[in-house]
């Protein structure tokens, strides 16, 4: 019975693996999944490019209310500006499939980057086939990941501890990403390395 159970589990996971061969998500304490994506300006970014650097990866969908919460208030751009100023790399990824909410072609993406005053290290990475999002196990927008210079994931989850869509709560919220980056920069341990990523589902 145990054997047949394991077999069915195995077959099940195999079926799941067909659309996305790398089901393994980005898990704190483990190596980040490899990726190779082209940004809106046509430049290719891979995990190896960022070896030796701190890297923040953010999932984006311009029509998601929770993304609007953090962009409309300027909260996300402020974080991008602050930490890229400290030499930390920041990539913002769009994994919306063609025809789905939030999908942008390169020209549109450049416009949105401008209108949103994006302060990331590159214009949006366009993960239209969802490979990078699935490899990371990105569930929501905004889903946040922090990768250390050794290529290990050190944080995965929500941007902060308040899943309200109301921008008014931002000043009172505890920002997990800022806390993790600040702790890492001063050589301290990260207090919260994982949280429930709130927001809209990524539109694969």
């Amino acid at each position: 019975m145990k054997n047949s159970h394991n077999l069915s589990r195995w077959i099940f996971s195999l079926l799941l693996a067909v659309p996305a061969l790398a089901m393994a998500a980005a898990v704190p304490g483990e190596q980040a999944p490899a990726f190779s994506e082209v940004d809106a300006a046509g430049k290719t970014h891979t995990l190896e490019n960022y070896a030796g650097k701190w890297l923040v990866i953010e999932w984006f969908n311009k029509d998601c209310p929770y993304v609007k919460k953090h962009y409309g208030s300027g909260n996300m751009q402020a974080l991008q500006e602050k930490y890229t100023g400290e030499g930390i790399q920041w990539l913002t990824v769009i994994s919306s499939a063609k025809g789905k909410q939030g999908h942008l072609d390169p020209a549109q993406a450049l416009e949105v980057a401008k209108s949103h005053n994006l302060k990331a290290s590159a214009p949006f990475l366009l993960d239209t086939d969802g490979n990078m999002g699935r490899a990371f196990g990105a569930k929501t927008t905004p889903h946040m990941f922090i990768i250390n210079p050794e290529g290990q994931v050190v944080y995965a989850g929500a941007i902060d501890d308040n899943d309200s869509a109301n921008p008014a709560v931002i000043p009172k919220s505890n920002n997990y990403v800022a806390a993790a980056l600040d702790a890492s920069m001063t050589g301290e341990a990260i207090q919260v390395a994982s949280s429930r990523a709130y927001g809209c589902s990524v539109k694969y």
């Binding site: 704190p28 209310p65 929770y66 196990g137 869509a165 809209c200 589902s201 694969y204």
Partner: protein, 673 residues
């Protein structure tokens, strides 16, 4: 009617708008795909609790969320203020798992009411409530909504409800999780296995839906479910990288009702995993070895060993193996019985044989005859009973007997192993039982098989008769103890029935030796008559409850314990039974000492004696919740602590005083200026 009411409502609302200048404050709110309105009575009854709520009418295929929203989304938020009433926490009807593309969310299909208890104050003329709501409504895309709802209702002598609204409240209140104590499923284990969290539930009802409360710890995806003889094993996926937790909460639902399992502690039952099975088997073996030294087993085995001194090596080995076979067969039978009962839904524990008066009476008769035989009153090993004799059946029977008399002596290491056996799959549980048996049999077999050990045994001689007579006395004491157990089970009549049987048996032996012709037959007849009369007398007596415990100790009452804990008192629970010798020793040498009682009194501890002598099902459940199915168990709930600390099975005074050392030191410091 409805029209008129609506007009009245509209006029009232308009007046309100004017009067209070609360532009946004209305009785309903709406957003994209959602309408929200109060479910509240037209009038509250003074001082009478009511359940009111917010009714969310949601467009088809759109949904709103449960308290744990699952993999994405967000629970609605209720920011409430009330004048003239006390309001309680939001009551969340149990949700449904909804697959949204690659995710699973926990929410509601269609309309839902979020409820809350409200109690108007005695002297309040009206109740005024204002609610700032935020919600998220999703199909695939999500739209947040905001609204402010105001409610003004008079407080009258009697409450008045719109019948439709009252039915809606009742419908959703029926779906709000009920307290854990009423749940048909109880958690017996929670363990982390890599990226999985494994929850074990006990309960014979159909497989329930189980929803995790903490979305930061567990994903909302449907857990894999396995049924393992009587228990249900749910495998949840952990949120990758989630920090280790002390406990996790769940809601279980049969589809129409739900119950909450709050704060199930991790590591509740050791060994719901395969990894620690070997440790448990080892513990069981060690426990079995230690059982040999227990007062109920030792005399029987000593006699057996000395009976074998003057026999040859081959014979001895055969005897040893027969004895071992007897022990293992009995443990296997007990294990099978336990598993069969468990499959039938009954909760049983180690030592359950001694919860049955006929078994106790049979053991009394047996030990009495053995003791008399050791004293030389008659020759044991005749046709009457061949138990301690040297024939093959004798050794096998000694093994069987050893297990039965060992039952009340839960020794160290055994508690954890047997507790695990109660929730483990059948094969593992049986392995633990057999390991206990192997442990019990091992010293005897080793002694018989090892020539160096044998050489140390003294040569046979007249001293053996003296020793045999001496060893009768522990057996007499065992008889007295078993009589006491019978007394606890049946009250004073237990003593009477038991002692009359003892006299009748001695009388039968006397007859057998005195009357020359046919005396033996008369003896048999008398003893059989005595046994039949005694056992049928038991039938009349069984079912009467034992005497209540007196003194500072309170009987086991979960509600009273909960009350005491709510009041911030420490609670000490002594799970005990009359047939448990270790329990009695701890009681006499530690728990009931005046000094210890003073310590308890000084610290205002609520003392509970949970008496399991007659197999109280409530106590069985409480023990299972602690991961045990044997006594003694000593559970200490420090004031304000959510989880009990379990004390060792053999108590010392310092362990009890140690519980209060911090507070003692504190008070001493306070005394010094």
């Amino acid at each position: 009617m409805l029209f008129r009411k609506n007009i009245v409502k509209a006029v009232l609302t308009l007046l309100l708008l004017w009067a209070t200048a609360h532009v946004a404050a209305q009785e309903s709110a709406s957003g994209d795909h959602v309408q929200v309105r109060w479910l509240a009575p037209e009038a509250f009854a003074a001082g009478e609790p009511a359940t009111i709520g917010f009714y969310f009418e949601v467009d088809p295929e759109w949904h709103v969320y449960w308290r744990n929203a699952g993999d994405s989304g967000a629970a609605p938020r209720f920011d409430l203020t009330a004048e003239g009433a006390e309001i309680g926490d939001i009551l969340w009807p149990f949700p449904k798992r909804l697959p949204i593309e690659h995710l699973t969310i926990l929410g509601y299909e269609g309309n839902v009411a979020y409820l809350m208890p409200v109690t108007p104050q005695q002297d309040a003329g009206q109740v005024v409530m204002e609610a700032n709501l935020e919600w998220l409504v999703c199909k695939i895309d999500c739209i947040p909504g905001f609204g402010t709802l105001r409610l003004e209702r008079p407080v009258m002598e009697r409450s008045a409800w719109d019948a439709g609204d009252r039915d809606l409240v009742a419908r959703f209140l029926a779906r709000v999780p009920k307290p854990q104590a009423d749940s048909p499923w109880q958690a017996s284990g929670l363990a982390e296995e890599g990226e999985e969290v494994v929850l074990t539930l006990q309960g014979s009802a159909e497989t329930p839906d189980v929803f995790p409360l903490d979305g930061a710890l567990l994903t909302a995806a449907e857990p894999e479910v396995q049924r393992q003889d009587g228990s249900l094993v749910f495998r949840f996926q952990r949120v990758p990288g989630a920090a280790p937790a002390q406990s996790a909460g769940f809601v279980v639902s049969d589809g129409t009702q739900a119950w909450s399992l709050e704060q199930v502690p991790f590591g509740l039952a050791e060994g719901s995993t395969g990894q620690s099975l070997w440790l448990l088997v080892l513990a069981a073996f060690a426990g079995g070895v230690i059982l040999n030294l227990m007062p109920c087993v030792f005399p029987v085995l000593s006699i057996k060993v000395f009976g074998l001194i003057n026999s040859g090596a081959g014979h001895r080995m055969r005897e040893a193996l027969l004895y071992g076979a007897g022990v293992l067969a009995t443990f296997a039978a007990l294990g099978a019985l336990l598993l069969a009962l468990r499959a039938g839904g009954a909760a049983v524990g180690w030592g359950f044989q001694l919860q049955s008066a006929p078994v106790v009476l049979a053991l009394i008769a047996l030990f009495w005859l053995m003791a008399l035989s050791f004293s030389g009153l008659f020759e044991f090993g005749h046709k009457l009973m061949n138990l301690a004799g040297s024939s093959r059946g004798g050794s096998f029977a000694t093994g069987v007997l050893a297990v039965f008399v060992a039952a009340p002596c839960t020794g160290p290491f055994m508690g954890a192993a047997l507790g695990a056996a109660a929730v483990l799959p059948a094969v593992s549980a049986m392995a633990i039982f057999l390991a206990l048996g192997a442990g019990l049999a091992a010293p005897f077999v080793l002694l018989c098989a090892s020539p160096p050990l044998l050489r140390r045994l003294p040569q046979p001689g007249p001293w053996m008769d003296k020793l045999r007579q001496f060893l009768a006395f522990p057996l007499y004491l065992t008889v007295i103890w078993l009589l006491w157990v019978l007394g606890r089970l049946l009250g004073e009549d237990g003593w009477l029935i038991g002692t009359l049987l003892l006299v009748a048996l001695v009388f039968a032996i006397w007859l057998g030796r005195t009357i020359r012709r046919g005396g033996r037959i008369v003896g048999y007849l008398v003893s059989i008559t005595a046994l039949v009369v005694a056992f049928s007398a038991l039938q009349f007596r069984e079912g009467k409850s034992p005497l209540a415990e007196s003194g500072a100790w309170q009987p086991f009452d979960p509600a009273a314990i909960e009350d005491a804990r709510q009041q911030g008192r420490g609670v000490f629970i002594d799970y005990t039974a009359a047939w448990c010798i270790t329990c009695q020793v701890n009681k006499k040498l530690v728990l009931d000492l005046p000094e210890i009682q003073q310590v308890f009194e000084r610290n205002d501890v609520y003392l509970v004696r949970a008496d399991w002598t007659d197999h109280n099902p409530e106590i069985t459940r409480a023990l299972a919740a602690l991961g045990r199915n044997s006594v003694p168990v000593y559970a200490w709930y420090a004031p304000g602590a959510s989880r009990p600390r379990l004390l060792p099975q053999i108590l010392q005074e310092s362990m009890i005083t140690g519980l209060f050392e911090d507070s003692l030191r504190q008070s001493k410091e306070d005394d010094t200026p």
